[in-house]
Symmetry: C2
Subunit: 257 residues, 2 copies
Amino acid sequence: MNVSLDAGKLSSGGRLYQRVAEQLAKVIAEGEYPPGSRLPAERKLAERFEVSRPTIREAIIALELAGFVEVRGGSGVYICNGESEKLTQTTLDVGPFDILEARIMVEGEAASLAAQKITDEEMAEVRQALDDMVTENEGEPICEKADEHFHMLIARATKNDAIVSVCSHLWALRNSSPVSARILEKVRQAGSKPRIDEHHAILKALEARDPKAARAAMREHLTRVIQQLLDATEAEAVEEARRAIMHDRKRFNLINT
Amino acid sequence: MNVSLDAGKLSSGGRLYQRVAEQLAKVIAEGEYPPGSRLPAERKLAERFEVSRPTIREAIIALELAGFVEVRGGSGVYICNGESEKLTQTTLDVGPFDILEARIMVEGEAASLAAQKITDEEMAEVRQALDDMVTENEGEPICEKADEHFHMLIARATKNDAIVSVCSHLWALRNSSPVSARILEKVRQAGSKPRIDEHHAILKALEARDPKAARAAMREHLTRVIQQLLDATEAEAVEEARRAIMHDRKRFNLINT
DNA sequence: ACCAGCTAATTGGTCAGACCGCAATACTAA
DNA sequence: TTAGTATTGCGGTCTGACCAATTAGCTGGT
């Protein structure tokens, strides 16, 4: 999924290195540089994009971290083999429902596997994390941090670094998505609290070392979070729809003037 | 999961910005800068770490892409809310079995969801990708690229950007893991070919729009890949065990001299 | 006493140029 | 033909500069 960047467009908050990285990602994805081949040298890319060499370096770091390229000092920047993570706008703004649906899938299975492998020490940590969540009237960031901690402890109990990485990737998507952040803020304003009963159910299933119960409890929990989000966004969706209608009316001069 | 960096250690191929980023990630994870707070200014960090400001900027870009911080021009670098993806060594070297186990979990469910949502156009693309894989004696990178393309098309058929992101994250782990690359190379040297029959089974299940069959076929396929890896690594494991024994014997002077 | 506006300081963004070390390639000599 | 050496091209890191955005503080007016 590529994003074509308007020539000369300076998006709000946009950074030059990001735009250069996106353009490079685009030409790589289009096959201009096949896997194994080498990008032009930093100095040449700086000429070609008419930016400075530090800006090129920053863009290449972004591509490297996204898995597009591999940097070898003294040799060059080589295109990686594969279609891996593309640095596009949508990665930075995945919808909260997509994220939750993916979490149901991933964290449900992770809970099941964790129920099979969790140690007593890890159980104690999960309990502690749940106790931290129960502590109300703490600052919101602390409460949310405890929620993430709870879920990440379960991920780590699977003893699978790839699952841990996937779960933290999903949390990163959630934490960095402006759309998600805004909707989650609306949920907080609606006065909701962490769903302690559901987390207790997950805890019980883990304590029982019951994979099926753990999967079911985690899925139930995340499904209810989706329901909560739907409820919280309903009013906003109505409001946005009204705004859209008003805008269209103004646009076509249909409002009494 | 933190990795403490040996003071003054210069790992082969290590880059200064990476070490700075890891140290910053460590102090952030340890709570020295709570969520919402601001990091010291770039110039101050440059003094503190005794590096240049461009190096600090490169490190901060890495942290930003990993979801640790948010950069606001003219204002500062703020700690994000959450435990998200940590920039540690282990993220870059996840074992191939962990990756495959995670893929069974994720891509199994993704295949199931894709079977429910895939369009005729997307089906045609998946077929084409499978045809590309059948083309033998092409260069290995082309064949592997077609395999990844096949799996990513299925991910996109789920119509869920978070799932797409997770799948490409897993491919990125696989593509960037030296351990995985080495073992996969060993599998290739053993003469294995892409498991076309298994991919055909996945294709048939998608064409039938059968979620259960799609999940089962994908899981079967990836389970057999695991078996193949186990077979391929058995000889290597034996060899490594022998080397370890020899090393220990030399170490304790048990070899005849 | 409070608010608004202006100015200065601090922050990140981008740039130019320099130097160093490593890797790769080419050339020469044995 | 091979090995060694030198050269070139590459990325790595640095210094210093300037610009734009944001924030904080101060002053004046109401």
